[in-house]
């Protein structure tokens, strides 16, 4: 009876949370529109351009969803690590490492000569491992020396970003052969067999295999977090490491594993971006997806469905924003403003709900 009442209460809170999130998004969009209007751009032009870019064509929809994939994977990794009270802000670096590994494996690792679906699977795995190791290093630092993982993952991101630069600048590494003076500092395009196959086979709707893979991973992570002993232990470690240690929960392996997994999801995001969209490694390969993914994770407040929702929101916002700049001359930075307002509003709402809950 009491349990039922409790569940009902939680459901109600869940619903309120969803409504608050929707209200925050609406508010932020209204502010964004007001800003557009204040710049003297006709609102209708901006809205049409935004809608065109975000969901105006099958291609636009697919592009938005592909953006959401990368954001969502990083966000899921964030939520996973956050369950153990670890804050992984290194998504950007983990994406970069994933991109490097996927490129190397596709071009020079011999992946393209493998049979069946292996040519595109092997680079994906390599990317996940590379991202995982990058996250795992932060885990080792945390477990052995107590380095704050916020600082270590962030700084390792910068190292990774410059590693990408180095890779595409040096012919010994991943730069394409310099045949003439016009060769850009980027890698060769990866062989077709290593590209992620399209779901529909229609290039006008470039949804690729990353989508189902990411969805399966999301379901697995959600189950692991909420329905397994391991998930419960992670929560114990996050809430009270001392008590968890006394209760015989191995803290160090938990930290290592969870940061490795978060990094692996980031690395996988990098592989999706490379093998599913960009096809060659460029200097500005990741361009902020890691940091946006972190925000997606933050907004989800620990829930995997929340990650999916906010990743989709941000994916569509980004696509729409880019087109708004191209077609209507509104700086796409306006999308950043909207993102910022959403975050602030939600954080404020969360704070307010906590206060109400504690009965003050």
């Amino acid at each position: 009876m009491t349990t039922m009442a409790l569940n009902l209460w939680q459901q109600m809170r869940m619903q309120t949370a969803i409504w608050i999130s929707l209200a925050a998004v609406l508010f932020a969009v209204l502010v964004g529109l007001a800003l557009v209007a204040s710049m003297g751009v006709p609102l209708s032009d901006a809205i049409v351009a935004f809608a065109d870019g975000a969901w105006g064509s099958p291609y636009a929809i697919a592009a938005s969803i592909n953006r959401a994939l990368a954001l969502g994977l990083v966000g899921i990794g964030f939520v996973l690590a956050n369950r153990a009270n670890l804050t992984n802000v290194g998504g950007e670096g983990q994406i970069a490492l994933g991109g490097i590994a996927a490129t190397a494996m596709s071009l020079y690792g011999g992946a393209s000569h493998l049979p069946g679906p292996l040519p595109f699977i092997v680079p994906m795995i390599a990317a996940a491992l590379a991202g995982g190791v990058w996250g795992g290093i932060a885990g080792v630092l945390k477990a052995k020396v107590g380095t704050n993982e916020v600082i270590s993952t962030l700084l390792m991101s910068f190292i990774a970003i410059w590693l990408v630069y180095w890779c595409v600048q040096s012919e010994v590494l991943l730069r394409q052969p310099m045949n003439n003076t016009a060769t850009l500092p980027e890698s060769l395009e990866i062989p077709d067999v290593t590209k992620l196959p399209l779901l529909t086979g229609d290039p006008g709707m470039p949804l690729h295999w990353g989508l189902p893979i990411a969805l399966v991973l999301a379901v697995i992570v959600a189950i692991v977090l909420d329905k397994t002993v391991f998930g419960l232990r992670l929560r114990a470690v996050g809430l009270n490491p001392t008590a968890a240690r006394r209760a015989g929960i191995a803290i160090v392996p938990s930290i290592l594993l969870v940061l490795f997994l978060a990094g692996a999801l980031g690395g996988l995001a990098g592989s999706f971006m490379l093998q599913g969209e960009q096809y060659s490694l460029k200097a500005r390969f990741s361009s902020g997806y890691g940091f946006d993914g972190l925000v997606v994770g933050l907004l989800a407040r620990g829930s995997v469905p929340g990650v999916i929702a906010s990743a989709l929101l941000f994916g569509f916002l980004r696509s729409g924003g880019i087109n708004m700049e191209l077609a209507a001359g509104v700086p796409s930075a306006i999308v950043m403003v909207i993102q910022g307002i959403i975050i602030l509003t939600l954080a404020g709402a969360a704070f307010w709900m906590e206060r109400k809950k504690s009965g003050k």
Binding site: T3, K227, N240, T242, G248, A250, G359, K360
Partner: protein
């Protein structure tokens, strides 16, 4: 004294001649499904020491928090100094002349006493000298010895509490509320605190003291209000002579029926009966724990625990006496596998467990009831069921998933066995009263598989009579089935009545061994203070 059938009548009957300083009428407060307070009426006069008595979860703290404006009441009217009183928050309560000393202190450890006092008040330039002078004056007036420029970090718990009290007194309150102030203090510090309360009251300030130690009530209370289940169940204008009745009202049982050791701890005379029981009861000769020259040095190289050697047999309760901070925490931490020893070894049932992890220590059959429940024993943000099986969650794995149903059912069984009172196993652990939390921790540790040794550090701290009795009962029961018990406590009376023999620790070293008998009280006391005979 009167037992209240109807709370409002009780309030009306207790009206004194001069208008009361603070009057509460029909106060109600609900948290979720829990009615924490229900129609509580209390009156407090100037210059009066009014004790609030009640078991854990009776609503004492909630009532104090309503008065101090931490919570807003759902029902009821408050009057302070003859006017309606409706504090919007603690700051408002302070301005209106009500100050409160909480169970948990809010001091910045790295700042000095004076800086901490100035934190909440100063604008502009800090007048440290002036403040220090006021601290000294207050110290003298109320007997609160304090060095105004000492760092909080270097102060004992008792001294920190004095800082909190000075912080309150600097506001010159008309009412001072102290929420279980003696729970954290040493016997000698308690004495001092009670004197401070008396002096504060003598200055015309009203004092509300939350406690469940009857000895304190006997000593200083002018009036007592007993709460149970969020209601006023009794009031007394002559508490010193009505202790028995108050206890009966508090727990609805007679004091004579209580566990003898529980009543000893709460100031009632203990009979010698259990001593004889003990002689017959155990003595199954077999080592549960052997400690060989255990030494712990801190970062500065000071020996916190110095060459500690001890044997605990199965079916025996060995008490570790000593003023806190004399190596008990280090001893408990090493034996629990939480702290590496600098030197020495220890064996559990003949197996060397030195330097093993907490997990291995538990696997060897050691149950641990840690000193700091919230930091080490439980996770307040998780449910009761999850906490009850925190160290053996694997038991509920089914096809890789967590079998919540089985977990819930096992939790219910354990709750029943150890009398953990909560609405259900899914309740958040943090919402349980201290007594029920401790019973849950004890239940978990006593059901450790292959239990050989129970390590209990200050297991009854902050608990009320009923819970203390339950904890002792469970410890004795374990002992009877052949578990060795190492009981660390700073309550000498508790050790004398529960343990078979007592080892006294002073500055990390064993000062001496005694049988646990009231006649050894003086000797143990002297050894605790560092005197060797």
């Amino acid at each position: 004294m009167q037992l209240a059938e109807h709370p409002l009548e009780a309030g009306a009957a207790a009206v004194m001649e001069p208008p009361p300083l603070l009057s509460l009428r029909g106060m109600g407060k609900r948290f979720g499904s829990l009615q924490a307070l229900d129609g509580v009426s209390v009156e407090i006069a100037s210059g009066e020491i009014h004790c609030l008595l009640g078991e854990n979860g009776a609503g004492k703290s909630t009532l104090c928090n309503l008065v101090f404006g931490v919570y807003q009441p759902d029902a009821g009217v408050m009057q302070f100094g003859g006017r309606e009183y409706r504090p919007s928050g603690p700051a408002d309560a302070l301005t209106q002349g009500i100050a409160m000393v909480h169970q948990h202190f809010s001091l910045v450890p790295d700042l000095s006493v004076v800086d901490n006092l100035l934190l909440g008040q100063a604008r502009g330039i800090l007048k440290r000298g002036e403040c220090a002078q006021r601290v000294r004056t207050l110290s003298e007036n109320y007997g609160l010895a304090l060095d105004p420029f000492a760092r909080i970090r270097d102060l004992s718990v008792g001294e920190r509490q004095r800082v909190e009290i000075v912080k309150c007194l600097m506001r010159e309150p008309r009412l001072l509320v102290l929420d279980e102030p003696t729970a954290v203090l040493l016997p000698i510090e308690i004495e001092g605190l009670l004197q401070v309360c008396q002096r504060v009251a003598a200055q015309g300030c009203g004092v509300v003291l939350v406690t469940h130690k009857l000895a304190e009530i006997k000593k200083i209370a002018h009036r007592v209000t007993v709460l149970r289940g969020g209601r006023v169940v009794a009031t007394s204008n002559d508490p010193a002579n009505e202790i028995d009745l108050l206890v009966r009202a508090m727990i609805q049982r007679d004091l004579e029926g209580l566990d003898a050791s529980a009543s000893a701890m709460f100031g009632a005379p203990a009979t010698d009966a259990p001593e004889q029981d003990r002689e017959i009861g155990h003595r199954i000769e077999d080592e549960a724990l052997q400690v060989n020259g255990l030494t712990v040095r801190d970062a500065e190289g000071v020996a916190r625990l110095d060459n500690f050697t001890l044997i605990v047999n199965r079916g025996e309760i060995v008490g570790i006496a000593g003023v806190e901070g004399n190596g008990q925490s280090e001893l408990a931490a090493v034996l629990a596998g939480m702290l590496p020893a600098t030197d020495g070894r220890f064996f559990v049932a003949g197996k060397n467990m030195t330097g093993k992890s907490p997990q291995e220590v538990t696997a060897a059959g050691v149950g641990v009831v840690p000193e700091d429940r919230h930091a080490v024993a439980c996770i307040t943000g998780m449910s009761l069921a999850e906490n009850l099986f925190l160290n053996r969650l694997d038991r509920f794995k089914r096809w890789g998933l967590l079998d919540r149903k089985a977990l819930r059912e096992s939790a219910r069984a354990l709750m029943q066995e150890f009398d953990v009172r909560a609405a259900g196993p899914d309740l958040s652990f943090g919402s349980l009263s201290g007594g029920n939390q401790q019973k849950a921790v004890l239940g978990r540790e006593l059901t450790t598989e292959g239990l050989v040794l129970l390590l209990a550090a200050q297991p009854t701290r902050g608990l009320d009579v009923g819970a203390v009795e339950a904890v002792y009962g469970q410890i004795r029961k374990a002992c009877e089935r052949g578990v060795g018990v190492l009981l660390i406590s700073s309550e000498l009376d508790e050790l004398i009545s529960v343990a078979d023999r007592i080892v006294v620790l002073y500055r990390g070293r064993i000062m001496g061994h005694c049988v646990a008998h009231a006649s050894e009280r003086e000797r143990i006391g002297a050894m605790m203070a560092g005197h060797v005979e």
